[in-house]
Amino acid sequence: MHLRRFAFAGLIGTAAICAASSAFANDTLTVAGLGGNLQKDLSATLWQPAAAGAGVSISEETQDGIAAVRVQVQSGSPTWDVVHLGADECAVGGKEGLFEPLDYNVVKSDGFDKKAYGKDWIATNTYSVVLAWRTDAYKDKHPTSWKDFWDVKAFPGRRALSAYPQEMMEITLLGAGVAKDALYPLDTKLALERLKEIKPNISVWWSSGAQSAQILKDKEVDMMAIWGSRVASVIKDGAPVEFTYQDGLLGYGCMAILKGSKNVAAAQKFIAGVVSPEIQARIPEMMPYYGPSNSLAFKVGKFSPEVLAKSNMSPENVAKQTPIDTNWWRDNSELVREDYSLLMSN
């Protein structure tokens, strides 16, 4: 009896010491990313150096999007502190109040596009949706813009677009001649009309990155809208494929701190590191075809012309592209999605 009580007290004591040590010394942040190669690259390029700089250690988890985040927050005591998501999901999560506000005294937003951060989230990297084509299908004259994508007379051949409307609506409007800075709010009516026109020439509406790469590599289509990172791997595999950043769409990956996290202060420091120009400057070399979300990265770092040509965020390439307005998608995505899926399958 006495012995048992003594043992119990000992247990409590040990637990208290453990708790105290984790509070004072080296915090462990749990970061949940989207898994796969992307998370591996992000971790090596951004997260590890940022954690080291902030004096914390990180443990990584994977998740599959905003639904999982919602479940975590609703549980009241999330096991993740920081999540990496697509920017549209960050925008939705922010609207639903799933995140702690970011302290912009700690996290510096200098060098960021206004569309690249919100009150409680900030972009950590960029990706591009670009126009890619088979060089064996367009030998003499290849398409150079979305206008050419819609010009089936001058550029016959099979085309592919994504099965989800984000970026595709923008592409359509750019192809219809809408000016880059006049894209938002999107003219959905015009976009759907123009999509209906091109529909007979769309062979595949792809629904995953792997599928998009496969149809280009296997010559199922001759020209398509595809993620820059995916087309890069197709080219690396030796397929006769080229792409252009001209008229490309810039999207963001983002980070946010889960509401109810017990390590908010450390998480703020960690995110500040991730978006700092110095660490962002690692992206062009370590993650070609992705880009830094902080344009100051190109001021801090020195890059070879080859690296700059590949990076979607080099000053030259970024000028050709348009950033996505995640807030517009946050507010309009559901109805657009329905119209888009109706159009695809009808």
């Binding site: 599959d64 999007g65 905003i66 639904a67 919602r70 999901e89 939705v92 639903e96 099979r158 099965a163 989800y164 062979s203 595949v204 509406w205 792809w206 629904s207 599928q211 496969q214 149809i215 296997d218 010559k219 199922e220 995505s333 559901e334 999605r337 329905e338 119209d339 899926s341 109706l342 695809m344 399958s345 009808n346």
Partner: protein, 298 residues
């Protein structure tokens, strides 16, 4: 003597009653694991799903998730799901009935060997089989390449990333589900009925149509219903071979969960699918019973 005779009717009544109850309880006990399993993996998730479907994204009680189902995009995908399922089931019946018939007429031993070939695809994952179809059917795929080499076509045929490819892939996956129940029901048909029909004056074709077909109708109904219902919820093959053109209900559910994190919407979609599936099963059961009794009376 007379006292014993009076007592005899109530002898051991309580003991025997208790014995009977114990026996029944033991029999009930045997079914407890199965009942628990059903409750755990079927009733509980379904109740939870139904519960979720009653709340909107903000967590308030609303009919929003069901109202959404009436919007054109959902009605369209619902109708297209029914169409694709009916088409696939129809083709499966056309292809599967003769196979099942042939198997049922062979010796038990030969039939069992051939059945292995029908069951064989079950041992390969649907994903692998679906990708195999992609390799065969695509623009630069094996079939189009051969046809072009043989000079039968000059331009590749659009065999995949559309309804054609989806139906081919689904029929391949579904065929065993139709053949197996059909075959076993055909096996159970006594060949003497066909002799009797011939003796009555029925040609082989008449005997088949007026006797064999109605007698195999329950098996055909069971196989057809199974195939149709499996098609209704089929996700993988339409998603991979449809090229985005084949709007299946299952795709909507998957998107609602994994792409758009809308559990309420996904739940409402699932509940609707379940309700429709149950209705169709009931309808088919009723239809098969009618078919079984009406064919042959003409």
């Amino acid at each position: 003597m007379s006292a014993a005779a009076d007592e005899a009717p109530s002898l051991n009544v309580e003991l025997l009653g208790a014995d009977e109850r114990r026996h029944r309880f033991a029999m009930f006990g045997l079914s407890v694991p199965a009942l628990l399993l059903v409750a755990l993996v079927l009733l509980a998730p379904f109740s939870w799903l139904t519960w979720l479907s009653l709340f909107d994204a903000s967590g308030a009680l609303s009919s929003e998730n069901y109202a959404r189902l009436l919007r054109p995009a959902y009605i369209n995908s619902f109708l297209s799901t029914l169409e694709v399922s009916a088409l696939v089931t129809g083709i499966c019946v056309l292809l599967g009935y003769p196979v099942a018939y042939l198997l049922s007429q062979l010796s038990q031993r030969t039939a069992q060997i051939l059945l292995v070939f029908i069951i064989l695809p079950f041992w390969t994952s649907v994903l692998v089989r679906t990708y195999a179809w992609l390799v065969l059917l695509q623009r630069e795929g094996i079939i189009n390449t051969w046809l072009k080499q043989l000079g039968l076509i000059s331009e590749s045929l659009p065999l995949v990333n559309n309804l054609t490819g989806t139906v081919i892939g689904m029929v391949h996956v579904m065929l065993p589900f139709l053949i197996l129940p059909l075959y076993s029901s055909m096996r159970a048909i006594d060949p003497v009925y066909l002799k009797a029909a011939a003796n009555c004056g029925a040609s082989p074709a008449q005997a088949f149509r007026q006797v064999f077909l109605p007698l195999s109708a329950p098996g055909l109904g069971a196989g057809g219903a199974l195939t149709f219902v499996l098609c209704l919820g089929f996700y993988l093959t339409p998603a991979l071979l449809g090229g985005g053109r084949v709007a299946m209900w299952s795709t909507q559910i998957a998107d609602a969960v994994s792409k758009f994190a809308n559990w309420g919407a996904a739940s409402a979609l699932s509940v609707a699918l379940l309700v429709v599936t149950s209705l169709i099963l009931l309808l088919m059961r009723w239809g098969v019973q009618r078919l079984g009794t009406s064919v042959g009376e003409h």
